[in-house]
Subunit: 352 residues, 4 copies
């Protein structure tokens, strides 16, 4: 792949820059005959869209998707589905002042080194806007997973040093940060609003729980299910780490503590996070990712420009002080794509 | 891929079970004209081989590799190189007692659920022995990277709760756990020997530092350099998490702290771990992985067998009480494969 | 791939049905910094578009392309380029009468067997309209090849039993059938118009000549340059065979006749068609493809419907009596994609 | 791929030079639980091996395969199967005289241009010996296809200008050229022996018939079943063209003649060769390939050496005067790999 395609049997290819004409995705390999419409996809888009609340960017993209192919009389045809979103709230002139500068934390320098030139309008291809296309594709995968009884749920567990103490699934979509603890959520929101007022940003942790995956899904060796989930998550720009089950705590555990023993009802613990040897155990798949603080801040920073000159920079613009709430649906989307793809690979292997 | 192939332009495919006749690898896409011999590869094999010391398994595999193709008159031909290792110290009968039982922490259950049957001799394909093939392939990639001035160095930073306090690169290959702190190393070895005497095991953390990578290597979006390194690392059975740069600490950092500011000499910090937007910044690429405690322990554990009956199990056999020292060359090998592959992809993109 | 993606390093993914909202393509892996605009691509689109002349379908699609991404200030950015065409002259109601019938020569039966349902409007995804997206992608590849001094030229050599006797490159774009012999072209046009009046169609042969390819391009074994060109050509619906150089005549030749001997000026013959062992020799790459007669004819034919009932069918509608003239730019486009992709693979291999 | 890997879900990767230590293949994605043994694979190897008769090369390779992995207690495990053949009758010194010369018809020049160096011993990687690995892999695919009721049969239909007039399947394995007409076979053998005495060689045509493939197998657009079969066949060094069904004769046919009409019993003709729109129709898949005359001849030829000097060359050695009889099992093997792979892709798509 040249970097914009993901998946083996359910294959998605995205395109589009943040301030170009449109972003979109082609999804190939969709099981035919599935009932689907734009409204179903739009539900997920609306969870990711900017301008949802006081803790997200005020940039307003209506993110209204259109399905251009692969659907006929309300059913998937099995041929590629193109889903497109026009970019509507573009203000490229806002980037004129900084077009020659490398914004700290942004991919400005790296894109220029890689390509020799770059689209400086709002991060171009490296923008979080690219993830809108992933959410659209993930919605289609989610629909396919529903048939299998698989559900994917992500939620914020830590923001700016504040951690969730309880897990209340019903609370997640009812608070602005999509935290699983409504009390912690209130502190998180307060913290974010305070940082936002200072022009600063903060990071956090999001956990994802995938339920209903049968035992035996995942490939051995290089395409382990956890390896592919790790790739999927780290492919989201703001994510800098991932851990499964007991995760980094395993470093201080004994084998006799970490091993998940079994009785006839199943596993007694889930330190493995639902995956052993790269293949699902039948227990919930559980992983956590760390989300870095948003790079765009209006605090004064030191940098250089493309001519090697030292400069001071204040990244104005409309940005999320904490990306956790909007990254939750992106994480779910990528998880849906990985799981559905591996179900399809398993079908190809067994093929009975 | 069906799971046993890795890489786009430098492509490796492994085969072999731990107690079958042989394990091996085909490496395709090797730059032609490179001077290489078996001895160069063997150096890396010897770092991974069992039976090195008191803290590794006493299982003795000489791990003598043979290069069967792709080499002519001391130089690579550009055609596929097959490297093979015969399995010499097989004792499959050792597994007779447990062949119907699912060992806790092992892939016994998951392989059986996936394939409907499994090679129960020493974990079969899920065995750590498969990584010998990766180390062989990684040695070839390392040779290619040397021409570019890229070096890859991994080392243990934590074992059984004991952490390194200093970073002394020269110490790494001089202590049995490959730790970067020779004082901590002594405590680690003591801890491992004690656990080994009790039939238990422990986990740890390994850090990897890749130096000399030019800015601009890595693909955007799905094939980000960190995403591919994450996949590569999580594809190693014992690894349950990865973090880049500041990693999980980023959750509690502000944007103004996490952003790596620049002056004309380069980045002032390296919280990004050398990768932004999936592309190398030119700074060292730094990541840490968590290594779970070895699953094979001789402590009594509760499990079930393939007939659903509850059983007690003691995994006898010859196992590593802590896999950190032997996983270090595997991590380096996978890192070498990823970096060389992405250099080749960049050459294809620019192609001037 | 799930079937709609082509290429390794220059990778194209198409979408769209003939009577849906749009068709389009994402091209990934384009060398950055290339000057390109919509007008350059449009030139090739206009060579393929319907309604060009008396020997093509009167269906009118303006085939005006739009580039939605991957271009910035007149240069390619190296990120995916999406090129889209809206479908403008759709008359899906024209297909109401035949929606339950399997048209002879069409993919109606096969799509229904594969997917369990099908978009019956104008062949859906199996329509020749899908090739418009290929021509757009091929134009980008052609631009990349121009830098290398590679040119790709296809032309009709046989139509309805009439064969070209001369090769006059300047004549090709000056006659309606894109034949390389202007005298034969006149007979071909006459033949096509006569068949068209009868509601019948005819086949033909198109030759393609690729000049300027350096020796050494192509992969060994499975991805031989001729193998990939063969796949590319047979992936065009109407093409049923391909031969390189001496082609099928080689069956009756001796080794001493077929072998291309050399002197210091190069090859004395080109029976190999410019490729030996899957790798370019430096001579022109020459192949011929056979184009089947257009399946849509208004002659009465016997068929069955989806209920297994025998039916008679007359495929009304607006169709090409001979697809040769419009398939020429499609063949060139696919050839451009293959050659540019293999140049990029070679760059990845050597990478110096 | 870097050229030595084939297939999506049933994936084969070959290695090995003709005069190196061994050739072999890794087959990944094999359905687990399949009964298989070395003897089953050996049957196909013996059909391809040299030294079978007066019309094949006297080079003697016993071609005894060994299965090194992926098999346990007589059944496939679903993990990669490595099959290896040692090279036993190597006489590399036979090539000393010609190591600096480019043999006409051989890949000497092209490999040197591509790689900058080459293994000159018996064509190295470009040798027909590489196809032994394909035959081994094809045998495994054939076993998988047997479960589906699919059979693959190839046979010589033309050699040195002599054509089969009858189709007698039982005759094929009973004559030395594997022709479907035992009378023509006698003339063919005579012709080959005569050419062989003169040090010359001849080409031919092989037809392949695949029976029992259900309607609906194959991918749309780029991975059409005929496109993939074409790639598979052209990836065999000696093959220079392919045609399906009516093939090149379609150039002179009318649509009303070429279209395969239907009644309730099925298709009335099979001009499409069993594939429409890239997807199987349920009729036999029929294609023909042209096999070029063996390049190695002992007739005096003109060439140049690697220093650009004009030379005369007589390729001594042990070669097949006509490769048709030994290419028949290679063609079958590649066809088996393509068909089984596409069945697996279809299973992934539908996945019910």
């Amino acid at each position: 792949m040249a970097g914009s395609t993901f998946g083996e049997r359910l294959k998605v290819t995205t395109f589009g820059e943040s301030h170009g004409e449109a972003v979109g995705v082609i999804i190939d390999g969709i099981t035919p005959g599935l009932e689907l419409d734009e409204a179903y996809v739009q539900i997920q888009m609306d969870r990711r869209k900017p301008g949802q609340s006081s803790v997200t960017t005020p940039r307003r993209e209506y993110d209204k998707i259109r399905i251009l192919s692969g659907l006929f009389e309300g059913r998937t045809t099995g041929t590629p589905m193109c889903i497109m979103l026009n970019n509507t709230d573009m203000r490229p002139s806002a980037y004129d002042d900084i077009k020659s500068m490398y914004r700290p934390g942004h991919a400005d320098l790296t894109y220029e080194k890689k390509y020799g030139l770059r689209d400086y309008r709002g991060s171009g291809r490296a923008s979080g806007r690219e993830t809108a296309a992933r959410v659209a594709a993930g919605a289609v995968a989610r629909k396919l997973l529903e048939r299998r009884g698989v559900s994917v749920l992500a939620y914020t567990t830590e923001v700016g040093g504040i951690r969730c103490e309880t897990f209340e699934p019903d609370a997640i979509e009812r608070n602005l940060v999509r935290a699983c603890d409504p009390v912690a959520a209130r502190s998180m929101i307060e913290r974010i609003e305070q940082l936002s007022a200072n022009g600063d940003s903060c990071g956090g942790i999001v956990e994802c729980r995938i339920s209903g995956v049968a035992a035996g899904i995942g490939e051995p060796v290089f395409d382990k299910l956890d390896a592919e989930l790790a790739k999927a998550m780290l492919s989201i720009g703001a994510i800098k780490g991932i851990e499964f089950g007991a995760g980094f705590q395993a470093a201080a555990m004994l084998g006799s503590e970490h091993n998940d023993q079994m009785d006839r009802t199943g596993f007694l613990t889930n330190n493995a996070g639902g995956i052993i040897g790269g293949i699902s155990t039948g227990a919930d798949i559980v992983f956590r990712v760390v989300v870095k603080p948003t790079s765009s801040i209006s605090v004064l920073q030191q940098t250089v420009d493309m001519y090697g000159k030292e400069r001071e920079i204040v990244t104005e613009g409309r940005h999320d002080p904490c990306i956790c709430p909007r990254i939750v649906p992106v994480i779910e989307a990528m998880a849906c794509l990985v799981i559905e793809d591996h179900y399809k690979r398993q079908a190809a292997l067994l093929d009975e």
